[in-house]
Symmetry: C2
DNA sequence: CAATGAACATTATGTTCATCC
DNA sequence: GGATGAACATAATGTTCATTG
């Protein structure tokens, strides 16, 4: 009967990666779930990475639980009836977002270094 | 009732990463499981990555199934009775290893680019 | 049918147990 | 106790289904 698991500290998880992007996108434009998915897929297409809709929704829900984002249900542009869920920063969310991004920056740097090392060690 | 899963193409998996290192280490020195684990932990310690013994064994077993490595059971240096499992290339394994490494090189480059992009997009 | 979300399924990986010198 | 491996358990994430407008 297992207890909590301690991560081995390999590369960062997809969820965290998406949360980072979703914060940054929220700083920039007002978008809703599936649109965010579209944008991300476009961005990552040249890199062979195609996130799925569930991961994006879970990342968004995570950010809400973290107190970083909040939902704003609104009629879709132009549409009369289609209501979609936009996101903006929660009260105090900006600060928490800044903190999260700082952590992720360190994490990305770490991963970059690990990968660089692997390239050197195995192909240098 | 789920079918096969298609990977989203995010970062490379720990297993593949370890297999790459185990091939390279096999090219260099003759080591057995737990020693390989030691070496890897030492290497990655500064990067906050600490693989566990099961992952290393599974990676080695994978490489055997791939026809890349084979086991050589031998008495441990100096020890009279302690028998350990060393690894060397299987027949034709060198070629397959070369192929695998080529794939992993591409994969590592892709991951490096993805991470670099994330740093630019979110902190640039 | 687009959008959201939950339920469900599987894979990746971490932890514990068994066995053998 | 070191070494190997399998069994077991959980976490991460992909796929399908339900609901709503």
């Amino acid at each position: 009967m297992g207890e909590k698991r301690t991560p081995s500290g390999f590369l960062l998880k997809q969820r965290a990666f998406l949360k980072l992007y979703l914060i940054t996108l929220t700083e920039q434009e007002r978008l809703y779930g599936l649109k965010l998915l579209d944008v991300l897929r476009q961005e990552f297409k040249p890199f062979g990475y195609r996130p799925n809709h569930s991961e994006v929704y879970k990342a968004l829900h995570d950010l809400i639980e973290d107190g970083i984002l909040k939902q704003v249900k609104q009629k879709k542009e132009g549409m009369k009836y289609q209501e979609v869920v936009y996101y903006r920063f929660a009260e105090g969310g900006q600060e928490k977002a800044k903190l999260y991004k700082r952590q992720l920056k360190a994490e990305l740097d770490r991963c970059a270094a690990l990968i660089r090392k692997a390239i050197e060690d195995n192909f240098g």
